[in-house]
Amino acid sequence: MKIRTAADLEAKKQAGLRKLQPGKPRIAVGLATCGKAVGGAKVYERLHEIIGTDNPEIDLSLVGCIGYCCEEPLVNITLPGKPLVILQKVTADDAEEIVRAVEEGGVPEGKALCRIPSWDHVTGCTLTYGEGFERNIPAYRDVPFFSHQKKVVLRNAGLINPEDIDEYIAVGGYAAAQKALTGMTPDAIIEEVERSGLRGRGGAGFPTGLKWRITRDAKTDKKYIICNADEGDPGAYMNRNEMESDPHMLIEGMIIGAYAMGAAEGLIYIRAEYPLAIRRLGIAIGQAREYGLLGEEVFGTGFSFDIGIATGAGAFVCGESTALVASIEGRAGRPRPRPPRLTDIGGGLFGYPTDLNNVETWCNVPVIISNGSGWYARIGAKGNSGTKVFSLVGKVDRVGLVEVPLGTSLNTIVFEVGNGGAGGKKVKAVQTGGPSGGCIPVRLFDTPVDYESLNRVGSIMGSGGLVVMDEDTDMVDIARYFINFATTESCGKCVPCREGLKHTLLLLNKILAKKATRKDLDTLADLSETIAATSLCGLGQTAPNPVLTTLAYFREEYDALVGR
C-alpha cells in the first residue's frame, strides 16, 4: 500500500507500534556487525530454536546496536507494562534461562545492563514501556557510558528493527519527509537546514545548507545527490552502525534533500566491505518503494525520487569527492584538481551538478525538519551545532559508539564515557580523524571536540574515529601504522603523496630500527611539511598529520630512538 496522506502514515505508525509493543513479551537481539562479530547471531539462532516462529506467547525480533559495543551481544527484553531491559554479554547458552525468565514474567536480572522505562525517539515520539526492576537493574541514564551522551542521530539505534519500515514509522519516521514534501517549499527547507548550523559530518565541516543552496541554484535539467558511505578510517564505524541500525533515517534525509535541491536521482556510494549495511539498505529501499516513499509521486505530490546503491571496490581514496564520482562513473578512483567542484555544472556525476553529503549529515536532516532549526541549533557549541557520533576505540576501558553534543571535551569522552585506559592503564593520547588526523596528548584533553578546536591542536574532526592510546603505546610506531595505511591507500597520482609517503614510511622504519640519525628526523619533518603543503587532494594533504603531531607532542620518543 502506498502512503499518500497523513492518515496512511498514521495507520503504518500504529502497525509499527504493535510490533514494538506487541502486548506480549518481545525479545530482540542486537544484530549489527559489532553484535554479530561476538556471537549475536548464535544467540539469535538459539533463541529461535526455543521460541520458534509465530509463537503466540513471545515475539523474537532483531535490532541494531545501541552503541555499547564492548558489552555485546546485547539482548532487549520488553515485557508488557515493564521497562525495556537490555541484557549484556549474552551467549547462546543463556538463551534457555532468558526464555524461562520471560515465561515467568521476569528477566534474568544478573545479566541486565540497564532498564529503560521510557525512551524519547526525538522525532515527536516518546515510547513508554513501564516501571519495575528498580531494585536490581540500573536505569539507562545512570549507566556512566550512557549518562553523558545525547542521542539524536542514534535515537533509534538498538531499539527498533532496522529491517522493518513499520518500526521506523512507529517512532516518528517519515513524518519529517511528509512535512517537508507536503508543507514546505524547497527554499524553506534549505533555510531551515542553514539556520540549524549543520556542518558536513564527513570531516571537513562545510555548511550543509550552503552546499544544498549552491546545488539548488545550479541551472540544469538534471542533478544528483549522493550519500558518501565510503567510511574507511581505521577504527571508525559510525556510519556503518547508522546504516545497519537505522537505514530509513538516511533514506528519509535523502528524500528531504532531493526535494529541496530538485534532484530526481540519489545514490548511496558504500564500501563493499560493509555487506550487512548494503543488505539492510537494499531492504530499506525496497520497503520505501513499496510504501511509495521512493519512486513516482512521493506522498502523492508531483515529486519523484529514487535511490540506487553503488558499491566501492576497496579503495580508501574513493571517499574523496572527485575520486568517488570517478569510481561511480566506472573510472579509476583518482582525485582531480578542483574546481570544478561537484556542485558545478560539468563537475559532478556524469557532468551534472551533484550534492555529496556524508551518511551522518543526511541522518541529521529528518530531526532538523521535525523539531526545527532552533531546537537543533541549541544542541552543541557556537558554530558547531548538533551532536557527533564517535567510535571510541583502542586502549580505552569502554569501547563503543558515543554520541555527544559538539564541544564536549576529550576528557569527558575518554574518561567519563570511556572510563579511561583499559585494564587501569594510564591514557597517553587520543588519535582523532583517522589516518588524516593527529595524536592529541592527554594534557590537551580539555580541548572541546569541535571542528576548529581540533584543527588548532594539529588534528581534525574527521569522520569520528577516536583511537585511545595508553602508556604502553609506542607513538612512533603509531605514526608508522597510519603512514603505512596512507601509503598503501594513496592513489599514486601526485608525487608528494605517492613518493613522499613512501619515503616517510622508510624513514619511520629506519627510526624504529634505531638506525636513524638526528638528520633523519629533520628530513622527516621537512618531508612531512612538503607533503602537506603540495599534495593534490585531502588524503595527501592530511596524511602527514600523525607524524607532525607525534613529532610535536612526543618528540622525546623519537629522540630516544636516534643516535647523536
Binding site: E489, G492, E499, D526, T534, S535
Partner: protein, 268 residues
C-alpha cells in the same frame, strides 16, 4: 576577453580562462613542470608548478597549470617557501627516476644535485628508471589517440605504466604519441625491419607499412591505412601505398609530364 595578470611584479596579457602556466610558457617565465601538455586538460600531478597566488589580499599556494587567469590576479613563482618545497619534490624525483638526465638538469637549476631519499634502481625497469608517472603517455594514448593501449597499473607507490597484464598490446597503434609527450625520454621505441618495437610496452610489436616504390618502412601500417581512409580528398590509388617522400616525387613527376603534354592523364 583579454585581461592582465601580474607575475613576479610584471604585468602580462592573458586570455580569460587561460592557465597561468600557459601564460608563463608564452612569456618565457620559468616555472618547472612535468605533467603539462597544452592539448590536454590540466592534470595537476607533478606539483612542481606550484606558485603563490594573491587574490583580494589573500595568498595561497596552488598549481599554475590549474590556476585560471583572472583580472587582478598576482602571481609569485619563487617564494622562499615554494623553493623549499620544490627542492624536496626534486629530491623525490631524483630518487624515483635516478637515470633521468632531464630530472637531473631540472633539479640542478634549484641547486639540488643529491637526494636524501632511497634511490630506486631496477635494472629490469622497462622505462629505464626514468619514469616519473606524470601520466602524459597514458593520457595521450587514451584521450588524444583513443587507443587505450597503456594505462596505470596498481596504485600508490606501486603504480607503473604499461599494457594490460604486461602483455603485448593489440590496441597499440605504434603512433609514438607516448614517446613524443614523455618529458623524461623514458619510453623505448625502435623500428626494426618491418616492425615498430615498443620495448617499454611489454615488447608490443606493430607492423610497419612498406613503401611499394622505395621499399622503406614509413609508418605503422594500420595507422597509415586508417588515416588515408579518413581523408576528405582521397589519395589516388597510385599514391596510397607509397611513402610520403615517394608520393611527393610521384606528384612532381606527374606535374612535369602533364606540362609537357604527355604522361598519364590527370582526370579519370
Amino acid at each position: 576577453m583579454i585581461l592582465e595578470v601580474t607575475i613576479n611584479g610584471k604585468r602580462y596579457r592573458a586570455e580569460e580562462g587561460e592557465t597561468i602556466l600557459s601564460v608563463a610558457i608564452r612569456e618565457k617565465i620559468e616555472i618547472p613542470h612535468l605533467c603539462y601538455e597544452a592539448s590536454l586538460d590540466p592534470y595537476g600531478a607533478c606539483r612542481l608548478c606550484m606558485v603563490e597566488a594573491v587574490r583580494r589580499g589573500r595568498s595561497e599556494m596552488t598549481t599554475a597549470c590549474t590556476l585560471r587567469a583572472a583580472e587582478g590576479l598576482e602571481i609569485v613563482t619563487d617564494t622562499p617557501q615554494i623553493v623549499k618545497h620544490r627542492k624536496i619534490l626534486f629530491e623525490l624525483y631524483l630518487a624515483e627516476a635516478p637515470r633521468s638526465e632531464v630530472i637531473k638538469r631540472m633539479a640542478a637549476r634549484y641547486g639540488v644535485t643529491k637526494t636524501r631519499f632511497f634511490k630506486r634502481v631496477d635494472p629490469a625497469d622497462p622505462l629505464g628508471n626514468r619514469c616519473v608517472l606524470c601520466g602524459l603517455c597514458v593520457r595521450a594514448c587514451n584521450e588524444i589517440m583513443g587507443a587505450g593501449a597503456i594505462n596505470f597499473i596498481n596504485r600508490g607507490p606501486y603504480t607503473v605504466v604499461n599494457t594490460p597484464y604486461f602483455e603485448p598490446s593489440a590496441d597499440c597503434l605504434g603512433c609514438g604519441a607516448c614517446v613524443n609527450v614523455c618529458p623524461t625520454a623514458a619510453i623505448d621505441m625502435e623500428d626494426i625491419g618491418g616492425e615498430r618495437v615498443m620495448r617499454s610496452w611489454s615488447g608490443t610489436r606493430v607492423p610497419l607499412a612498406e613503401c611499394e616504390s622505395c621499399g622503406k618502412h614509413y609508418a605503422p601500417k594500420a595507422l597509415a591505412e586508417s588515416i588515408i581512409a579518413r581523408l576528405e580528398t582521397p589519395l589516388r590509388e597510385e599514391t596510397a601505398k607509397i611513402c610520403p617522400e615517394c608520393r611527393g616525387k610521384w606528384i612532381a613527376r606527374e606535374e612535369i609530364l602533364a606540362k609537357r603534354g604527355g604522361g598519364i592523364e590527370h582526370a579519370r
